[in-house]
Symmetry: C2
Subunit: 355 residues, 2 copies
């Protein structure tokens, strides 16, 4: 078990050693470790060495000039200047919130960025101002569209955070694939098999090999197969790609520069970096915030009271498991798998810092 404080100091130190200004190193650390706190172990400190690898390859600019390149009263296009997505996304979200404060909603499409951690963090930034927050990003091409064997899309997540009154906030944060690559990475570290319906082989056959992606296989869209609606997961993933990248001028589809080390960067890129899409909607742009929050509490209350299927414990509200995990891990610490510990030890040596 590692305390949040300990992982925070270490991670911040790594970002400082990459050349990030102190304020940026702190924010990037907060965003990255929000994944560990929320139990999304695949997206947290386990990926720190991945960011370092991209930085060493010259694909991350530690001192980016993040700026608006196009805007209207309710929109902006932001150039992330090759910065850490962990920094670019919160800055873009701040612009979305400013626009929402002025004209009701704000929408920011981002190009020239990198992996932004968990989408939920960015969406939740809107909550404190009684706004609904929305965050999406495209990602390494690992998902095959329905009927295809080519890896054309990322696991392209969508997060939506909704303010409440007495209930904790509603926070949906979901990959548009049947399972995110991070889940496979955990199975790999544990040397376990994957369920049928998550991945296919290079030829499109069903597979339970958690290492299948390294052998040319692909993740499947949410829905898994055509009969169960994989064309819907594919369409949602495509929408995320279009809003994040075709709208901003980032790379899209099979050209998204990969975060994973086993994929090469494509040639003749049609855009710059990876793309995000961030939105903020002021609740009182639609109805008084207290009315809305009263009804959100009522909505959540009704779902909590829904009849539970035999053998299950409770009907969950999106955000419940992550919030409970955060409380637990802040108290008891964050467990790391042995391969992640070894990764962090190597980073400590690499930068000559303590772990």
């Amino acid at each position: 078990m590692y305390s949040y404080r300990r992982l925070f100091e270490f991670t911040q130190n790594v970002f400082l050693n990459m050349g990030c200004p102190p304020e940026d190193a702190k924010l990037a650390t907060e965003v990255l470790l929000s994944a560990d706190l929320r139990g999304i172990d695949s997206h947290g400190v386990a990926r720190l060495s991945g960011y370092v690898r991209l930085w060493e390859a010259g694909r991350i600019n530690p001192k980016p000039n993040i700026r608006i390149v196009h805007e209207t009263p309710s929109t902006a296009t932001v150039d992330g200047d090759g910065g850490l997505g962990l920094l670019v996304a919160p800055r873009a979200m701040a612009i979305a919130r400013q626009k929402a404060a002025q004209v009701g909603t704000g929408w920011v499409s981002v190009k020239n960025s990198n992996h932004f951690g968990i989408a939920g963090y960015h969406a939740m930034m809107a909550l404190e101002e009684d706004m609904i927050g929305i965050a999406m990003t495209n990602a390494s091409p690992l998902v095959a569209p329905t009927f295809s064997t080519d890896r054309m899309l990322g696991t392209n997540p969508i997060a939506v955070a909704v303010p409440t009154n007495n209930q904790p906030p509603f926070v949906a944060d979901l990959a548009t694939a049947a399972a995110a690559n991070g889940k496979l990475e955990i199975l790999q570290r544990k040397e376990k098999k994957a369920p049928v319906g998550w991945i296919q082989t290079e030829e499109g056959h069903r597979s339970t090999n958690a290492n299948e992606l390294k052998e040319g296989g692909a993740l499947l869209p949410l829905g898994s197969d055509r009969v169960h609606g994989s064309h819907k997961g594919y369409a949602l993933s495509a929408v995320v790609d279009i809003l994040s990248a075709v709208l901003s001028g980032a790379n899209y589809g099979p050209w998204v520069p990969p975060f994973v080390s086993f994929l090469p960067v494509a040639e003749n890129l049609p855009g710059e970096g990876i793309g995000h899409f961030l939105g903020a909607m002021r609740i009182d742009a639609f109805r008084p915030a207290d009315e809305f929050k009263y009804h959100m509490d009522n909505w959540i209350g009704a779902f909590r009271k829904a009849k539970v299927k035999k053998g299950e414990k409770a009907v969950l509200i999106p955000g419940d498991p992550e919030r409970e995990m955060t409380t637990k891990r802040l108290q008891k610490g964050i467990p790391l798998l042995a391969p992640v510990e070894r990764d962090l030890e190597a980073l400590a040596q690499r930068f000559n810092i303590n772990f």
Copy 2:
């Protein structure tokens, strides 16, 4: 086979007999039959008798005063005054487009409406102005959240239409359930079984009975079960419900007044009618439209060229099947199942009009 023209005249006649003004009857018909043209047989003329049933029950106002009750430069809340959703949604979408023309994007949450036909129609309204169109609605509570046996959500669709240059537009239109109730209705009319993963029994066991919903069963969210991501389909459906109804003041969750005749209207409703959420984003609020459309063509071209899985014909782009069906049915006519024909004959008698 029935010609589009014939079904159009008949349907328009029915709406006129319900007391709709001529212009409204025409628009409602166009919206309703866009489903038949696009091959979404469940949502088209097959539902006409359902609208009549709601009208007879006093749940549809044929002469609604559709109006904005709250607004900011980029948002509006619209009261549909109990009108046909087939009319309310296009009016709300027109408001979203006007707002987008002025400040870059427009977002309209609608209360006090009824079933609005297919979401894709409304999203596609934005295309002609080089805008991305978005449409969602909540619907009859038939879907059980993950781990529950209660029917708490509708099949709550999401549609996104994206303009292109030489390629046909990208049009995603998907229910957030594994399969929409309309698909079960078709299986019922054909007396066929449903695949495992679409529905569960009243106790939460797997079922292939296409009539299961009439016996207390529930539809399953996109993802079908927890391992394959049903919590993601549940979360998406919840987001649609919140944006459509909690934001506007419509009924939400288990209180949505049902379209299907086998469910009663709940008591102590927390809102008015059903809710929709409509959005329009001007492409050139983010980047020049010609640049965007060049890259959308490139995106679509890349996906069309993706390797096809053995045994399948082609990798489809969202909107492909519906567009091909429209061309075919405008030429060759629209097939109707016998129970639908009988329904329409009964309506002809009811209103003393020709079919």
